[in-house]
């Protein structure tokens, strides 16, 4: 499988993601430059974490207009796998590949910490290696991760099983304190109805090696690698 990791000015998890794909998971992976118009025959595009264009206007708002994003949109429409992590998730929301928007965390502070997320849908391209309901311990690091969608959109997401990851406590309960950023319905990760575009706030690349304290994030990448 060939991965392409998009580099926007201000991306800062691009190198981490590439490192995990190449050096830990031994996959073919390459950077994709935001000014280019070509995805170069990749099978999966990853929009990495960071602060694209400084995120001064709104997280992901400027990245939406970069030349490469047009290609990503077409790629997704053709059924290509797209994984947006953190800022990548915010970008997917801005360009409308996933519904909703991100607000500032409920405590109005940047949050960097390990969280537990529960796999709500283990039949997706990005989670099929997990057991349904499996808990993953993966770090988050964001200022705007408080997911918002209008009530009817939320019920649609739930009804169609599009909520893939939810913030839970260490016992697997989707409690209020476990929902550190205040997301609607504890949502930590979402997939599109077609099942090829996933956005998630936790950083799987930060939990893919024993030395970093958790390897639960590998499951996301390994699922993707072994999909069909």
């Amino acid at each position: 499988m060939k991965f392409g990791v998009v580099v926007f000015p201000g991306s800062n998890c691009d190198r981490d993601t590439l490192f995990i794909l190449q050096n830990v998971l031994r996959q073919e992976a390459t950077f994709l430059w935001h000014k280019d118009h070509d995805l170069g025959r990749v099978d999966c595009v990853i929009l990495p974490g960071g602060f694209s264009y400084g995120d001064y206007l709104r997280s992901g708002a400027i990245a939406k207009f970069s030349p490469l994003i047009e290609e990503v949109r077409e790629f997704a429409e053709r059924g290509g796998l797209v994984l947006g992590i953190c800022n990548g998730f915010q970008i997917l929301l801005e360009i409308g590949l996933l519904p909703g928007a991100m607000l500032r965390n409920k405590n109005l502070k940047f949050l960097c910490q390990h969280v537990h997320v529960r796999v709500e849908n283990a039949r997706t391209a990005f989670t099929h290696r997990a057991r349904p309901g499996q808990l993953l311990r993966i770090p988050i690091a964001h200022f705007d991760g408080n997911y918002y969608a209008p009530a009817e959109a939320l019920s649609k997401l739930e009804a169609s099983n599009q909520v893939v990851l939810r913030y839970v406590d260490e016992n697997g309960e989707a409690t209020e304190p476990a929902n550190v950023n205040g997301s609607a319905a504890n949502i930590a990760g979402l997939i599109n109805p077609e099942g090829n575009v996933l956005g998630m706030m936790p950083h799987p690349e930060r939990a893919s090696e024993a030395i970093l304290g958790s390897q639960d994030g590998r499951l996301i990448f390994e699922s993707t690698i072994l999909w069909r």
Partner: protein, 735 residues
């Protein structure tokens, strides 16, 4: 034309002015005087500190670059070098906490990537006024958010640090930021301007009237018409910095440049003159070519602007086009503004006129050096006298009080706002004795710590200076790292006060002695004087940043207890030393007495023994005893254990219970190990001439300390943990 009033406005003495005239053979014009004002300021010239800084050991086999460059460089083997430095941003952080701290981070990051190293970690040492006052909380919130905003955005993890609170810092917070980076050891770039005729390039943000002319600011009478002279607070642009970082590292990786320096304090003036002075060359620039953000800036304003996110680069002619192409790729301009010249002069033209024509040597190296009078403060003796209060009856209560003191309490409220994991190297997260970073693809790791106990240095500067070094190295030993290099940030009051100068001299001599005993070179640092408000100086606050090398990162040790049934061992002996303790401070509001004594040779033996035990895989946890003493150290080992297990300790001693539990005797570490290992561990201690004794067992849900058979502390771990965990968030939820 230049009268005493103008000199006073520029903070230049009549004697210094006479020296300038002698050096340049004529009277300077106003722009030139502005340049001297800045470059001969305490901040840039170290004129009051130089004579003492020379006492610090700076040489060792592993030193690639000592003091005098943008940062120090230490060889760590495998063809790699660590590049690191600490700097203060105290005054700007009081004026505007968020931007002051943010630009402090920006400045130190540039110091590191200027040398060709990718910054891999930030640590910060912070001092604020007590959190029960809302103004202090506002400053603390602003500073922490500022550091977070800048570091997080650039993508350099803030992996550790320290925070302390004391009234003296209310109007003068301290914000010291350390950054370290890793580079290939034969690809270190220096701030040099070599090769006459080589173009000088300006890269990064445009120049505006940011932070102009500190000296004028300090003395100008603010009135309506001088409003414009007020220094503008520098505003950081971390996004621009990130682009600058990537572009600079790319041109360096391709060997396209010969020298580079960031434009920090004193901006264009400092970078041009220092680069030329280091190479024995000159630089000629044309201000009309300097990218400007505002209209109508005078030559003086352009030369002295402290606009952020700017760099000066010297490259060979044939490489300029490629340098410009790479900067354009990152949406940045690289503009030729002049060239390197022969003859050692800084020549600046503006609209065809020569506005500056000065020998760089005079600007950079010929500032007078002062040996200012130093005198032991008269109050010190009475401050060191200590009559111990009676032993409190309820030690459980006292213990919880210490755990919830902000100096001891959990700092997660702070570090949770910092992205401490980006770059995926953080092997030991904040909260441990030291941060540990893996080096991708290598067996080795780096450990880093910043440390300083200003109450100790206030009560006994020399001992405090020694302890600052000793404790930082002890922190490193606890994770399994050997110290390889030191950087320091020395925060003091007004050096023209003899008391302050004496504190400064004593601290340096104490630090120097400790560095020699531990054989670690000082590769640079920063002096911040004039931390005074209304005539009252901050506590003398040396902050040590020490870098350690972990030979095999798989052997790294963390502070939390690991398994039920493990034996708790105390390394070192406990004396009755309560002077300067957190116990007296937080429970009795006493900041007095003599700080604990330190025997550096013994301290070194403790470190060696701990490192040996770790390399033989004998111990499962190690945590250094510092503020709050043995009881707090053991409790933290419970809190930091994955399952928050408890412990039962049995202490025998002839000391007062409070001295035993909360005293801060140096050279002590609490470790835990399986009972089967105990005998070999104790034998190793004996071999090394170090006292070590089993004092209890890990396990259960309670935290119990027995003294002479009686339970003096007996609490659920969970209750202790809550006090420790919630103390700081609770203060921030005050109205």
């Amino acid at each position: 034309m230049i009268d005493p009033k103008i000199l006073a406005d520029h903070n230049i003495t009549v004697k210094e002015y006479e020296r300038i005239i002698r050096l340049i053979g004529r009277e300077p014009n106003l722009t030139e005087l502005g340049i001297f004002s800045l470059m001969w300021s305490e901040h840039c010239s170290y004129k009051s500190s130089k004579v003492h800084l020379r006492k610090l050991p700076t040489k060792a086999e592993n030193v690639i670059q000592g003091p005098g460059e943008n940062a120090g460089v230490i060889d760590i083997g495998d063809g790699l070098a660590v590049v690191f430095k600490i700097e203060s941003h105290n005054h700007p952080s009081f004026i505007e906490p968020f931007q002051g701290a943010a630009t402090g981070v920006g400045g130190i990051l540039r110091d590191i990537f200027t040398m060709g190293a990718r910054p891999i970690a930030i640590l910060d040492s912070l001092r604020f006024g007590p959190l029960d006052k809302s103004t202090n909380r506002a400053i603390t919130e602003g500073v922490v958010a500022g550091i977070a905003s800048y570091g997080n955005s650039v993508g350099v993890p803030t992996v550790g640090g320290e925070v302390h609170f004391q009234e003296r810092y209310s109007k003068n917070p301290l914000v010291n930021v350390l950054c370290l980076g890793v580079a290939h050891k034969n690809k270190i770039f220096l701030a040099k301007a070599e090769g006459a005729g080589n173009p000088v390039l300006y890269v990064g943000s445009k120049t505006g009237r940011d932070g102009i002319h500190g000296a004028t600011m300090a003395s100008a009478e603010f009135g309506e018409e001088t409003e414009q002279k007020r220094p503008n607070v520098q505003v950081g642009d971390p996004f621009k910095e990130k682009l600058l970082l990537e572009a600079c590292l790319e041109v360096m990786d391709k060997n396209l440049i010969t020298g580079i320096q960031d434009m920090g304090a004193a901006g264009l003036t400092c970078s041009t003159s220092e680069m030329a002075a280091r190479s024995g060359t000159g630089i000629a620039i044309d201000l009309d070519l300097v990218p400007q953000r505002e209209e109508g800036m005078t030559p003086c304003e352009i030369m002295l602007s402290e606009s952020q996110e700017r760099m000066l680069i010297v490259a060979e002619k044939e490489n300029v086009a490629e340098v410009q192409r790479i900067f354009a790729k990152w949406d940045l301009d690289a503009v030729k503004i002049g060239e390197v010249t022969k003859g050692g002069k800084l020549q600046v033209t503006s609209r065809g006129d020569v506005v500056v024509d000065l020998p760089v040597e005079a600007i950079v190296n010929l500032c007078p050096s002062y040996r200012r009078p130093a005198r032991k403060p008269a109050t010190l003796k009475s401050l060191q006298a200590l009559k111990l209060p009676p032993l409190p009856l309820d030690l459980d209560k006292v213990f919880l009080q210490i755990l919830s003191s902000p100096a001891v309490a959990d700092k997660e409220w702070v570090y949770r706002q910092y992205d401490h994991m980006v770059q995926i190297n953080t092997a030991l997260l904040p909260g441990a004795d030291a941060a540990v970073l893996r080096i991708k693809g290598k067996k080795k790791g780096l450990a880093v710590v910043v440390d300083g106990n200003s109450l100790y240095t206030y009560l006994d500067p020399r001992t405090g200076g020694k302890i600052a070094v000793a404790e930082a190295c002890r922190n490193l030993a606890c994770v399994g790292a050997r110290p390889v290099g030191v950087t320091n940030c020395l925060n003091f009051g007004n050096p023209e006060k003899a008391d302050v100068m004496w504190q400064f001299k004593e601290v340096i001599e104490g630090m120097a002695e400790a560095c020699r005993v531990f054989s670690i070179p000082v590769t640079g640092g920063n002096v911040s004087f004039y931390n005074d408000t209304k005539g009252v100086s901050v506590y003398p606050t040396p902050v040590l940043g020490v870098i350690g090398l972990v030979e095999d990162i798989s052997q790294m040790v963390s502070p939390g207890f690991k398994s039920e049934g493990d034996i708790v061992v105390l390394i070192g002996e406990t004396k009755e030393e309560l002077g300067g303790s957190e116990y007296l401070r937080s429970v009795f509001n006493l900041e007095r007495g003599k700080p604990p004594a330190i025997d550096l040779e013994k301290e070194k033996r403790v470190h060696e023994m701990c490192l040996e035990a770790i390399s033989r895989g004998l111990i499962r946890s190690a945590h250094d005893i510092s503020e709050g003493g043995l009881a707090v150290c053991a409790a933290e080992s419970c809190f930091l254990s994955p399952a928050k297990i408890g412990c039962i300790l049995d202490l025998e001693s002839s000391l007062r219970a409070d001295a035993l539990l909360f005293g801060e005797t140096q050279s002590r570490i609490i470790v835990s190990l399986p009972s089967s290992i105990l005998a070999s561990f104790l034998a190793l201690a004996k071999e090394n001439g170090v006292e070590a004794a089993p004092i209890g067992t890990c396990g259960g849900r309670r935290f119990i300390i027995r003294y002479a058979g009686r339970k003096v502390i007996n609490l659920p771990v969970e209750a202790c943990w809550r006090m420790w965990k919630e103390a700081i968030p609770r203060l921030f939820s005050l109205p």
